[in-house]
Symmetry: C2
Subunit: 339 residues, 2 copies
């Protein structure tokens, strides 16, 4: 096994530090500040046995996803990623090849979004792998007295009555992909069969989510895009966070939820009744699309800019009850909770 310092050297080789920034090697990383900017910080932990099973996920995919879920939080506020920090507790059974492939996947995601690795922590674990990633980003500093400075961070608390509720892409693919993974893991004879092409595509979407950084930047540059967040726990949960933080009620038309043809095909192939696209889309997590509210005029302006997104509902009014009404269904959806 690579020793602690050899591992750090291998990581340093793969992640050059940008000019003007101090990366791996001191007690802290150092990033310059600019008086017209704000620093965004988010952190996520992934635990073996809870967030992933070693037999089900490739090290490359796990590395990719560990970085992606954090960069997505920067996207969720309309910021630009500036650097990330990777900590892991490594069981002694983990081989070097696994570790280097994990780092390659992590790097591929970071490189795609120009988000350099600037530090972290490497330690050992008695049994299970634990991964923690922190990402820093930046956004334009909000000007005092101005409602929406272009490029400023968008919070959950700014949804207004009359706003349309929008998402930047299909929902449910990741949750269905996870079901495809678990089904083939639980049934070794099934895993020997070639799975359907839909299942393969959904699995890829589960393991290699694409943070919506570019869409987030377009949205934060648009006046009257109000509340925004990334969809990590399913909109049945995430939209309720916006309603609670903004003290508003909303209605969502389930017929407007964007569903991929792969999700619909996958559900039609399943023999059980519990496999329904809307359950995956509204109760399933990890789509990492953006959920935002904006005035109808801003929605028109964004369409004119060519941004791809879908209107799924509207903020019906200020309300401390924060009611979420689903139209065209008699069901209710609450998203995914961790414990």
């Amino acid at each position: 096994m690579l020793g602690e310092f050899n591992l750090i050297d291998e990581i340093k080789k793969r992640f050059p530090t940008p000019d003007g920034v101090t990366g791996i090697g001191d007690d802290c990383a150092i990033l310059p500040q600019h008086s017209d900017r704000e620093t965004l910080v988010s952190t996520d932990m992934l635990m073996e046995g809870v967030h992933f099973l070693m037999d089900d996920v490739s090290p490359y995919d796990l590395g990719w996803k560990s970085a992606a879920v954090n960069v997505s939080d920067i996207a969720g506020m309309g910021g630009r990623p500036e650097g990330c920090f990777l900590s892991f507790a490594l069981p002694k059974t983990l081989n070097d090849n696994w570790l280097l492939q994990f780092i390659d996947g992590f790097k591929a995601l970071c490189d795609r979004f120009a988000c350099p690795l600037l530090g972290g922590d490497t330690t050992s674990s008695l049994d299970r792998l634990c991964i923690s990633v922190t990402v820093l980003g930046s956004s334009v500093k909000q000007l005092p007295g101005q409602a929406w400075t272009p490029g400023s961070a968008r919070r959950r608390s700014d949804a207004r009555s009359g706003d349309l509720i929008c998402v930047t892409g299909n929902l449910g693919d990741s949750a269905a992909g996870l079901k495809a993974v678990l089904d083939s893991a639980g049934n070794s004879s099934a895993s020997n069969c070639p799975s359907s092409s839909a299942a393969a595509i959904l699995r890829e979407r589960h393991y290699r989510p694409i943070p919506q950084v570019e869409a987030g930047l377009v949205l934060s540059a648009t006046p009257e895009v109000h509340a925004m967040m990334d969809i990590s726990d399913g909109i049945g949960s995430d939209l309720r966070h916006i309603l609670k933080a903004s003290e508003v009620s909303a209605e969502v038309d389930v017929n407007s939820i964007p569903l991929s043809k792969e999700l619909i095909q996958f559900c039609s192939e399943q023999s059980t009744d519990d496999c329904d696209p809307l359950t995956f889309a509204l109760d399933g997590g990890e789509d990492y699309q953006l959920l935002f509210t904006a005035t109808p005029a801003a929605v028109e302006a964004l369409k004119a800019k060519g941004l791809r997104f879908y209107v799924i509902g509207r903020i019906t009014g200020a309300s401390s009850a924060c009611q979420l009404t689903w139209l065209n269904t008699d069901r209710d959806f609450h998203g995914f909770t961790h414990f």
Copy 2:
């Protein structure tokens, strides 16, 4: 057990967010930037069974220490803590009382150093507790072309030939305290005996380290304090990092290493031969004192300011061999490595 969102609410209640900062509740925390400052970032992971045993440490102490080791990294560069992020993976067996005491200990350390908790992640673990903390700090931006801007971050790479090597306090207490903990844990009849007062004090130093933030700020404000870091793995390891980063050699006089009277008493009480103060001081970790190099003139200036510290050696010259020579001993010391 508190659910995920109740736990977050309990944490939010205990950690008010300072004015001008966005804390817990959005995808990211938001901190303002200032063009004359730099952002310092450090992160550490603590894993049950590796860094701590649940039966040996109180939840309050573990919370304190989890925050302290991170704040110490900000101190190690001479910065000021600005905010921290706490993630944990919680086994289902952990009760709410344990968790709230952990948070109280974490808060006590944060409050002492005015370092607000601004975010984190809460998730579950199949068995062992894993904790990850990230801390942000700030220092003065280094002016271009100037060697040491007062208040700027001090790195490992700036030690110069002729510098004196200094530490801000006693070494070895934490490692001896850990031995006292493990000895009484491994021998239940011994743990029923009242332990010596020295052992009790050393245990406290192991579990409640005090980050040297104030000393770090005095040091970074002093011109010609060159290299600096905090002592986490013992100077047998940490000083070598400075030598390697600065490409210099050094000598350290073991007779100059500051040792507490409790450490000397504890070692004299032990029946085995392997219990020697220098081994604890130079090979043991987690003292969280500062290790720095400075010109003799700067050392005099710091003494005149009343800063408490000890000169233990000197940088003997530039050298790619990065030789570390121990004076007044025929032994060698390499500090603690994690795997």
